[in-house]
Amino acid sequence: MNESTDIRLRNAIPALRRYSRILTRDPHRAEDLVQDCLERALRRMHQVRDLSDLRPWLFTIAYRLHISQWRRLKSLITPTETSPEPIQDATQIPHLEWKEVINAFERLSDEHRQVLLLAGVEGLEYETVSDILGVPIGTVMSRLSRARDALHRLVDQGDRPKLRRVK
């Protein structure tokens, strides 16, 4: 691992970890996903010699791994055994508005959470998001639009702790 690889990975790993948590909704499965992803990435570092921001590349690997693992998992277990866990314990978030938006975010569909994370939070270009998710850019835009509407509706509903617990 040379100096430049080291720095580029150092910069991208926290974001990879966050994306993995959002993909899996489970800290333990996220941990496995990050490890699998790094393992593959390290074998393919030669592909990204000229890339300074490794996030899109790592996200693409993570997303594809997640999809294939999820398909395998679904064939083994029933959906009731995979109830999603919140990405963060909302009680640990100090700011009330943050808490509201996280609660709303957790209740969105996987597709909506991902597009909000990649485009809104990570600030990636829409074309990059389209490459990561393997969908046309028009699909990214319509998902983003529906996701923002859905997030706003949920934030607007305000604190309804009982609803949040529904899984």
Binding site: Q35, W98, Y126
Partner: protein, 97 residues
């Protein structure tokens, strides 16, 4: 986003929220938003919620990864001789994800 005329699309509005508009396009969209205050209200709400989400999820990035990465630095000379799966495992371990 790439409309050449003064016609503002839904995609333009999202690009406004995500600060992805070119300076020329931004001027057109801003002018259009001036004439459509109810839409400006909507995109400002989206932008506010985007900022809140960034801030709230930002806490997830601030966990002591850098400190753990320092551990990785210490072991870097050893890591160089590892194969890829071992190296990935060591990184994950060093980060204690």
């Amino acid at each position: 986003m790439t409309q050449p005329d003064h016609f503002v699309t839904e995609d333009d509005l999202h690009a406004w929220v995500d600060e992805l508009l070119s300076p020329e396009r931004l001027r057109i969209v801003e002018t259009w938003l001036d004439a459509n205050p109810e839409v400006r209200q909507r995109v400002m709400t989206w932008r506010k919620e985007r900022s809140l989400l960034r801030a709230a999820l930002g806490a997830d990035l601030e966990s002591p990864v850098s400190e753990r990465f320092d551990n990785l630095q210490i072991h870097k000379s050893k890591l160089r001789y590892f194969n890829a799966p071992q190296m990935a495992a060591s990184i994950a371990l060093a980060l204690s994800i």
